[in-house]
Amino acid sequence: MNLAKEDLQWLLIGGLFSVFLLLGSATFGAYPLSAADLWALLSGQTQEGASYFLFWQIRLPRLLMAYAVGAALGLSGAGVQGLFQNPLAEPSLIGVQGGSMLAAAIYLVLIGPLLGSYSLWGLPIFAFLGAILACLGVYRMSTLNGRTYTASMLLAGVAITALCGAFTGLLTYFSDEAQLRDFTFWSLGSLAGSSWSNLLILLICLVPALLILLPMGPALNALLLGETEAQYMGWNSQKIKWKVLFAASLAVGASVALSGSIGFIGLLAPHLIRLWRGSNQRFLLPASAMLGGCLLLLADTFARCLLAPQELPLGVLTTLLGAPLFFYLVLQARGRHQLV
């Protein structure tokens, strides 16, 4: 399957819309900025003052973080769904988020105090390792003789998520008050800690994931017919699996490390794209990344503004909005052969 001209146009429109949304949501917040303020800031006319600091040091990195985390979740959701050939295979459902949460908790409670200091890189590295270990565990448990059994995969994901949740709970129980606060922050999901250095870490993980996953459209298209058929078409499905798992773990691990657990974006973004323009993975992958970014950017703007200056936990908000919407989509698609 190639990209139709129309697909390319939509991707371009999506890109432009993303920029527009970034700028638009920059005007909202506890401290509103007008369009004129924004122009002055961007064009360099405003070089000092509260709004200068607020925009460049707090709001802009946060908006970019929101977009990047959303893109990471949407992209890995699309990749993992294509890999497992299952529309339910979201990173959180197959235990990837649980694994990286546990690894992050281990780092915060056990490793950090042991080393006596926390490094900026420690958390993402641990979260990534947790993500990939959970992913491998689920994959091993659900694969026999090179064939992945979907039901086993989902069950294994549930088991791993539960197990990681239990261990995370245990660690919470033994942690002190400061650590406990950090945990709560994680388990609810928030972008309040965004900064340029965090954004850099995220991008260092996200860009390779993008570079690995985006060219895999044709391979994942072949996988739409199942693993055996993909092999008959000449694809090395084992290699495809490893690449997708690695890239998705990288993206999800980094985003969990920096923003905690944010649900439903990875499930919803690819699902919406698929309902809208079908299953061509060459379009689905970039489009899911863009849509994920836009969705999370919107959600984060709501989280910042609804109770300003208080903040709603972002992960709670995405789940509150995402779960009913997903429920609706499932009911809609049930009679139309679009879900199995």
Partner: protein, 322 residues
């Protein structure tokens, strides 16, 4: 170009569904390799040879084991371009394992002694993507979890295929397989017969370069399992026609002996543990063979119209129970 030759196949859908005369009585049998014997005793000559300039696509001389247990011994057969070979045998005899092995699938429990050659080169030396350029596999049935349009399904091709699927050619091929106007329908909305024809259309697209070079190999794994009697006839007729007109080599696993006898050039009969016979249907389909294969008593009649042998079940072997 083979595109122009296919309409005849499309025409048969609308025309009579009566079979062609028994395959072995057809003209052009001068191309048939003289490989029919009641029971193979000696190797069948040098592998990879050409008979009357017919390209030898497949040459097998091997024994299959499931773990340590022998599955099929003394398996010797070959398949040339333009030939339709059907493999028959009881459940569990190793037909599917055989096909998966020939298709390049790695099954950990399946051990092979001996070898198979594809186009004169050892099977093990091919990579998956090399093989996909001249060999396509039709599955019994596909399960697609995501919505996929007919034209998207068509265009998947093989891993190395760089040529973009032009709309015109895709439409042409779909029309020839009786799927005109189906481009925007979803796979999920097609009937079993339409799905099998669409699979075939996609496989022909995957093989198009090989078909032009007359060295395409099609493996079919119980392609009739989901089809009614009319669609079974359609599909078999289509494959037989592709073999004759496009010089496609086809190897199919079937359970229906009568439809196999009607269309196959040769039958490969497998009894538990061994290859029983290889040859044209009217020579190898005997009461003795069916006893050995299925433990059943049968009558063998000639079909009143196309004269191919037809098998009628008459009872169990003495002492044999279900």
């Amino acid at each position: 170009m083979f595109w122009g030759l296919l309409p005849a196949a499309g025409a048969t859908f609308r025309g009579s569904l009566l079979a062609r005369p028994c395959a072995s009585k057809l003209a052009g049998s001068g191309l048939r390799p003289p490989l029919h014997i009641a029971r193979p005793a000696a190797p069948l000559g040098p592998v990879g040879r050409k008979i009357n300039e017919v390209i030898m696509l497949l040459d097998v001389d091997a024994a299959l084991f499931w773990g340590q247990k022998p599955l099929l011994e003394e398996l010797r057969f070959s398949l040339s371009a333009g030939e339709f070979l059907v493999v028959l045998g009881p459940n569990g005899v190793g037909k599917s394992s055989l096909l998966q092995w020939l298709a390049g699938q790695k099954t950990p429990a399946l051990k092979v002694k001996g070898k198979a050659q594809l186009k004169g080169k050892d099977l093990a030396q091919y990579s998956l993507s090399e093989m996909a350029q001249f060999r396509a596999v039709m599955s019994q049935r596909l399960h697609l979890p995501f919505p996929l349009k007919v034209q998207e399904f068509m265009s998947l091709g093989h891993a190395q295929q760089k040529t973009a699927l032009s709309d015109e050619r895709a439409l042409d091929l779909l029309a020839q397989l009786g799927l005109k106007g189906y481009e925007d329908r979803l796979w999920q909305q097609l009937s079993g017969g339409e799905r099998q024809r669409l699979q075939l259309a996609r496989l022909l697209w995957q093989l198009q370069e090989a078909i032009e070079q007359k060295e395409a190999l099609l493996l079919l794994d119980e392609p009739l399992a989901a089809l009614d009697i009319a669609h079974q006839q359609q599909l078999m007729q289509l494959v037989a026609q592709l073999c004759k007109e496009q010089q496609l080599g086809a190897l199919a696993i079937l359970h229906d002996i009568n439809i196999a006898a009607q269309y196959a050039d040769r039958l490969l009969l497998l009894a538990p543990g061994q290859q029983w016979a290889l040859g044209p249907p009217e020579e190898v389909l005997t009461q003795e063979a069916l006893k050995a294969m299925y433990q059943v008593e049968t009558f063998i009649e000639k079909h009143p119209i196309h004269h191919c042998p037809q098998v009628i079940f008459s009872g169990w072997l003495k002492g044999q129970t279900i």
